[in-house]
C-alpha cells in the first residue's frame, strides 16, 4: 500500500523532570488515558563550575515522552504544569514538538483519544501556554564534553541543559571483537532556548565544540510548538 496523507496535528510531548515528579506524571498520563509513554534517565547540567567540581552540580532527571493530538497536548501541558508545579526552580520543563508522520497503529491509538468528549478543551483556553518562541537545540559530542557545551552555550543565553549518554552506531569506528561490538560513547545535550538566542547559542557551541575540536560535536535545532515550566 502506498503512503496515504492525512490532515491531523499530532505532537510529541517531552517532559524533563526529577525522577520523583516523573512518577506523578505517569499517573497523570494514565488518567488522560494516553496509551503509550516512554521514559529514560538523564542528567541536569550544573549551575556553576564550583558546584560541578564539588560534585553537587548535576541532578538526576527523567525524560518522559508521549504522542498526542495537538489540542490534547496543550491541555496536558497545562495539567502537568499545575500538578507538578513546573516553573519553580529545579522542577522541570515540558514542551511539545510537531510530528510529521506516523505508522498507522500509533495513529489509531492516538485517534482513540479524540472520542472522549469531555477531554476536548476549548480553543480559547489554549492561550495560556507559551507559544512557539522557543527552539530545542541538540548537541551531540564526545563523552566528557557536555560541560564544555554548556560553558559555550551559557554566555549566549542558554539557561540550563539536560544530558544523556548514548552510543554512536553504524559507523566505521564500531569495532567488533569476539561476540561483542564496541561503540563510541557520545553525550547528547538538550537545551531549550528562545528563538532569538538560538543562532548565537548554536554558533558558540559550534565554535568551541564543533567537528574540529576534541568534542567532535554536531549541533541542530528543532522547532518547539509549546512549552511550560521555563522560568524566564
Amino acid at each position: 500500500m502506498s503512503a496515504d496523507n492525512r490532515t491531523a496535528s499530532l505532537r510529541m510531548l517531552v517532559l524533563i523532570t526529577m525522577p520523583k515528579l516523573a512518577q506523578k506524571t505517569t499517573s497523570l498520563f494514565s488518567e488522560g488515558r494516553i496509551p503509550i509513554q516512554y521514559q529514560f534517565r538523564a542528567q541536569g547540567t550544573a549551575s556553576s563550575e564550583i558546584m560541578d567540581i564539588l560534585g553537587l552540580g548535576s541532578i538526576e532527571k527523567t525524560i518522559s515522552f508521549t504522542m498526542l493530538p495537538k489540542a490534547f497536548a496543550d491541555d496536558m501541558l497545562k495539567k502537568i504544569q499545575k500538578r507538578l508545579g513546573l516553573g519553580a526552580p529545579n522542577s522541570g520543563i515540558a514542551f511539545t514538538l510537531a510530528i510529521s508522520g506516523s505508522s498507522s497503529p500509533l495513529l489509531k491509538m492516538i485517534e482513540g483519544l479524540r472520542t472522549e468528549p469531555e477531554q476536548i478543551p476549548l480553543e480559547s483556553e489554549v492561550s495560556e501556554v507559551q507559544d512557539s518562541e522557543y527552539a530545542m537545540i541538540m548537541a551531540i559530542v564526545n563523552q566528557g564534553f557536555s560541560e564544555a557545551v554548556m560553558d559555550a552555550a551559557k554566555p549566549s543565553g542558554a539557561g540550563g541543559g539536560t544530558v544523556f549518554h548514548s552510543r554512536r552506531v553504524g559507523d566505521e569506528e564500531t569495532m567488533k571483537f569476539w561476540g561483542i561490538s564496541v561503540q563510541q560513547e557520545k553525550e547528547i545535550v538538550i537545551i531549550l532556548a528562545k528563538t532569538e538566542n538560538k543562532m548565537t547559542i548554536m554558533q558558540s557551541i559550534g565554535e568551541k565544540c564543533g567537528m574540529r575540536s576534541d568534542a567532535h560535536g554536531i549541533v541542530f535545532s528543532l522547532p518547539v510548538d509549546a512549552v511550560v515550566g521555563l522560568n524566564s
Binding site: 496515504d4 491531523a8 534517565r41 563550575e49 495537538k70 497503529p105
Partner: protein, 511 residues
Amino acid sequence: MNPKLKEKTREALTAVLPITGIVLVLSIFLVPMELGTIVMFLVGALMLVVGMGFFQLGAETAMTPLGEGIGVQVSKTRRIPVIILICFAMGAIITIAEPDLQVLASQVPSIPSHVLILTIAIGVGIFLAAAILRILFQIDLSTLLIGLYVVLIGVSFFIPKNFLAIAFDSGGVTTGPITVPFIMAMGVGLASVRGDKNAANDSFGLVALSSIGPILAVLILGCFFSPSEAAYATVGVADVVTTQDVVRVFLTDLPHYAKEVFVSIVPILAVLFLFQLVSRRYQRRQFKRVIIGFGYTYIGLVLFLCGVNVGFAPVGALLGNELAGAAWRWLLIPIGMLIGYYIVKAEPAIQVLNHQVEGVTNGAISAKSMNRCLSIGVAASVGLAMLRVLTGLSIYWIIIPGYIIALALSRLVPKMFIGIAFDSGGVASGPMTTTFLLPLSIGACEALGGNVMTDAFGVVALVALTPLIAVQIMGLQYKYKLKKAEASEMKESAAFGCTDEIIELEEVSEK
C-alpha cells in the same frame, strides 16, 4: 538548599534512622541500657549519617566514574592478554584496599595476616579476570556459578568444622564499601559501549564472581594451615560518664580509622592518576571533580567506620547478650529479623548497587523495590542466624539447600536478575553486618554458652545468601508480569489491525 545535597541528606537519614530508632525502642522496653552507652550509640549514629552522605557523594563523583572509565577503556583495548592483566591487577589492588579485609585477617590468627590478604587479593584478581573473560566468550553466568559453587562446597568438606563458618563469611566480607562501587561501575562501563543484546545483562555479575574468590582462597588456606579457631574480641562498652568522655573516646579512635582508610584509598588514587595519564579520559574539570570525590569518600568512610565500630558494635554485643540471657530468648528471632530488615539500608554499598540497578534498567527495577527485596532477604537471614545461635544447627543445613535453591532459580529467571542477585549477595554483607550483626550473634551465643566458632560466625555468609534468593524471586515476578504485559500488547495490536503502514501528516491550518 542545593537539591543534590538535600537528596544525599535524605538518603543518609532514611538509611540510618530506622535502625537507630529500633535500638532506642529496644533499650526502653526490653534491654535497659546505661545512658552512657546510649549517648555513645547516638553519637555513632550521627557520624553514620554524615559519613553515609559523604560516602554516597564520593561513590557517585569518584568511584563510579573511575570504575566506569576503566571498564570502557578495557573493552576498547581488544587485546585479551592486556584485558586479563588489567582486570587481575584491579581486582587485587582494590581488594587489598578494602578496610573490611583487615578485620577478617585479625579474626584468623593462625594464618599469617599478609599470607591471608595476599591470597584473597589474588583470588579476587583471578575471579575478576575470569568474570571479564566470561563476558567476552559469552559463557552462561548461571552455568559458571553452578560449577564454582559445587567446587566450593566440595572443598569445604576438607577443612576443620570450626573454620567453615568464617570461610564462608570471608566472601561477603571482602566485597565491601570500596570494592563494590568500583567493580559494579566497571561492569556497567564494560557494557555501556556495547551494542549487542546481552550488554545490559552483562553489566552485573562481576561482584558475584569476585566474592567467590575469597571464599575459595580462605578454604584452600584452611586445608593447609588447619586453623582451629578464630580470634574475636567482644567490644566492651566504654566507660563514659560525661559528655567530654564521649568525645574523648571517639577522638582517640578516630586517628586509627583515618590511617586505615588512608592506606586503603592511596592505591586507588594511584590507579586514577595512572589511568588518566594513559587514557586522558577526563577533562580538567571532571578530573578535579573526581579528586574531590575521593576526598568525600575518604571523609565518609572514616566517619562511618569510626561511628559504627565505636558506637554500634558494643551495643550490638550488649543487645545479643541481654536478649539471649533473658527468659524470653525466642524473642531473639523476631527482633533479629526486625533489625535485619532495617540494617541493610544502612549498608553503604547497598545504595550504590540500587542506584546502579535503577540506572541500567532505566528505572524498570526501582531502587525502592530492590530495597524492599534486600530487606526481606536479610531479615530472613538474621532470623536463621539467630535460630542457629539458639539451636546450634550446623551451617551446612542452611548453606547447601540455600545455594541449591538459588542456583536452581538461576535457570528460570531473566538473565539480568542472575547478575543482580548474585552481586547483591556480596553487597548486602558489608561493614554494618560485620560490626553490628556479628557482635549481636556473638553476644547472644556467649550468653547461651554455645560454640561461638560454629554458631555465631556464619551470620555474614547467611546475609550474603538470602538476597540471591529474594532478588531472583523478584525476577520471577518480573518475568511473569512482562509476559502478561506482552500478551495484552499483542491483543491491543490485534485490535488495531496492525498493518504498520506509514501515514504522512499535514498540519491543520490555523484558523
